[in-house]
Symmetry: C2
Subunit: 453 residues, 2 copies
Amino acid sequence: MATDVVTMEKIVSLCKRRGFIFPSSEIYGGIGSSYDYGHYGVLLKNNVKAQWWRSLLQERDDVVALDSAIIQHPRTWEASGHLAGFTDPLVDCRTCKLRFRADKLEDGACGRKPSKRPGETSECDLTEPRNFNLMFQTTVGPVQDEGSVVFLRPETAQGIFLNFKHYLQFARKKPPFGIAQIGKSFRNEITPGNFVFRMREFEQMEMEFFVPPQDAQRWHEHWLKERYDWYVNLGIRADHLRLREHEQDELSHYSSATSDVEYLYPIGWQELEGIANRGDFDLSQHAQHSGQKLEYVDTVTGERYIPYVIEPAAGADRATLAFLVDAYDEDEIEGETRTVLRLHPQLAPVKVAVLPLVKKDGQPELAREIERELRERMQVEYDEGGAIGRRYRRQDEIGTPWAITVDHQTLEDRTVTLRDRDSLEQVRIGIDELADELERRLRAPWRSPKLSD
Amino acid sequence: MATDVVTMEKIVSLCKRRGFIFPSSEIYGGIGSSYDYGHYGVLLKNNVKAQWWRSLLQERDDVVALDSAIIQHPRTWEASGHLAGFTDPLVDCRTCKLRFRADKLEDGACGRKPSKRPGETSECDLTEPRNFNLMFQTTVGPVQDEGSVVFLRPETAQGIFLNFKHYLQFARKKPPFGIAQIGKSFRNEITPGNFVFRMREFEQMEMEFFVPPQDAQRWHEHWLKERYDWYVNLGIRADHLRLREHEQDELSHYSSATSDVEYLYPIGWQELEGIANRGDFDLSQHAQHSGQKLEYVDTVTGERYIPYVIEPAAGADRATLAFLVDAYDEDEIEGETRTVLRLHPQLAPVKVAVLPLVKKDGQPELAREIERELRERMQVEYDEGGAIGRRYRRQDEIGTPWAITVDHQTLEDRTVTLRDRDSLEQVRIGIDELADELERRLRAPWRSPKLSD
C-alpha cells in the first residue's frame, strides 16, 4: 500500500466533524452498516452524481436515462437468477450464538471472546454452511401471503432490462445505445463494513450499453477507457487507480469478461466500479420468463438479434469515498498543520466562501451583498466568525476552492482578495468581475496539485 | 373544475408515447401503482429536484441538506407514532374475497360485479374494519426473528429529527434553520392510483425548519408564501393553485396548524404540498424514546428550548405531474393540432434542439459541430430525421424551449435560425453567439404564455 494514502480513521473523523457523513439512527444506538449524509456530504455526492449524468447524458448522444422502481415484479428476480443464486453461505456458532459468513470467517469475531476469530478458536462450534438469500423481502398490499412477496432490488440493472423494449419503441433508439440509472439498491449482507464502502443500503450508478454482438469486445474496451478517464478527469490520481481483469473463476454467471476499476482505498485496492460484458444473458432470460421478444429488429435490413450488453456499474457511495480519500491532504501553514480537501472544483460542496476581514466598518454588509449576488450562480458560504486564518482553515477542510475576503480597501475601491485553496495565491479583483471569473475557473480544466508531489 | 385542465388520459398517453413515465415491470404484467421514469421523465424530475435544492440551499443561507437512510432504527417509528397509528381501516368481502378501505368504499369495485361498488351492492358481505399498518416491513440481517424487524420509512421527515443534534453540534446551526432532504418513501396503501399522484413508492422533498416556539406562527406564514411562490415562479398558473387550511378534525396528531398548497389536477383540487406547524412533537418524542436531550441551548444567554418545527413537505412526483399538467397545451399550426409542453426553460428536459434543414450539403456536419459545442453547456438533442415541421413538433411535445436550424445560408454566413417554442418567433443569429444567448435566455425571468390566455 502506498504511504501517501490517508487512514480510514482520519476520513471518518473528518466526515463526522464537518458533517459529511455520520452513522444512521445514532440516537437509538445506530443501525449496523448504515450511514446518513450530512450537508456537505449531500452536496458532494450530488455533484458526483451530476458529473456522472453529465458525462453520459449531456456530453454524449447515445445514452438515455431511466429511474425504475425499487420494488419490481418478483418474477424479475427469478429471471435474473437472484432468487436462486444471490446467496451467502452462513454458519451458526452453537456456543456463542453468532452467525458468520463461512467464506469470511477471518472477518468475524467470536461472541464470547471478541479478540478471537470464529475459525481460530475452539470456543466456536460452527454448523455446516447454509445459503441465505441477500435480497430484502417484504409484502406488497396488506396481505401477508405468498402471492404478494416482493423484494427490494439488489441492483438497479434489472430495471433497465425490463424497460429495454420501451426504449426501442418510444425513444427511437437502436444499438449501440445505453440506458443509465442512478438509484438505491439493498443487500442484506451479514458482514458489510468499512464505512460507506459496503453498506446494506447503497446508491448505484449503472449503465447498460446495448450493442450488436460482434461489436461487444470493442465497446467493452471503449467503456473501460471512458470510465477510467472519468475518475482521472475529476481529480483521482492515476497511481491510485488500476484496471484489473477478472480471472475465469471470479466471473459472475452472466459475464464473459469483467474488469474492475480498482482504487487504492485506506483498506487497500478495492473495486470502485465493475465493467462487465454481460452478453445477451439478461435479455434472453427476461424474454424467456416474460414470453416477450426482447430483440432488436432493423426495419431496413430485416436483421434481428438480441443485443449484447456492456455494463459499467459504479457505486455513488464508493465513488464519493474515493474522491474524499484522494482529496485528503495535510500541509503546514504558518507552523500549523492544515487539513485540506483538494477536491475538483466541480465536486467541491461549496464553490466560494465570502469572508469580511473584520466584523465592523461596513465589511459584513458589503460581504453580504457579494454573497447574495454570487448565490445566483453557485453554492456560496458566508462566514464572519473568528480569526480570518481559522475561517480559511474551515473552508480548506471542506474543500472550498476559493475564498473572497472583504477588507478595508474593498470599501474604498470595490476590490476584494480572491484566495486559491491549493496554491494559496491571493489576487486582487473587482467585485463586478467576481462571478464571471469564478465561473471561468469552474469551467477550466483542473489538475490535482497532489499529482506533482 | 376549470375547463382548461387537460385530461389525465392525455397526460398518461403523452408520458408513455414520449417516454416520460410508464408502468413498472410491464413485461411481467406490471406491479400495481408503480411507475418508472423514462429518459425525459428523469431529466424533468431531476430539474424539479435541482430547483428545489437551489431554492433552499443555494439561494438561502439558513437551510442545510441531509440524505438519511431508508431503513432506520425501528424505535424511530415507535417514537413518531407510526407503529401504533399509521394505519388504514380495511374490510374483507366474504363473498368476492377482495379487501377494501372501509373509509374509501366508493373507490372500490366488487370482485364479482366490477361495475358495482362494495358499499352499494348486496353481493358484498363485508367484515368489520380492522386496522392495517401502512409501513412495509422487512428483516435486517439474515435472521427472521422479532429483534431484526425493520421498516421502510413512510416519510423522510423522521430521519431529519434523528439527526437534529448533529446539526447543532457539527453544522454550527442554531434556530431558525432548516434541514432539507429528498428521498424515497414507501406506503403500503391498498388504494393508491391516479397515475404518479399516489404511488406505493414515491419521492419526497421535505424540509424541517426549526424555530424558537414564539416565532412558529410567523415562520409558518413565511414558508406558505415561499413554497406557493416557488411553484408560481416555475410557471404554474396562479389560478391552478390555492392554499387551503386544514380544519381542526383533519389535523394530524402532531400538528397544530397545516395548510396545503393544492393544485388543480385533472382529478380535481388535490394536495400538492402540505405545510405544517409540527410544534415540538417530534423532537420531544425522540428525546423521550432515546433518552437524549434534543433541545437548543444558547451558549451566551443560557436560554434552552425545544424548537418548534415548520415542515413544508412536497412530493417530487406530484410536483412533476403538476408541472406536466400545467404545461400541457394544444394549439393549431398550419392547420394541424400541435401538442406542446410549455415548461419553464429551467425545467425542460432538453434545452435546445439542433436540426439540419436537409440531410445533405454539409448541413448535418455543421449541425453536429454546433451540437458538440452546446453540449458543454446544456442538454441538447440532435435530430436529422424527417421533415423539419415534424421535428419541431417532436421537440414541442417534450417541451424543448428552443430549436436551432442549420440551412443553406448557414454554410455561407455561419448564422442559424433560433426558434422559440411558445412565440414561434424565429431569429437569425451567429453560431458564435449561440451558447451565450441561450444561457442568457435560460437565466432570464420567465412567464408562461398560458397566463395571458
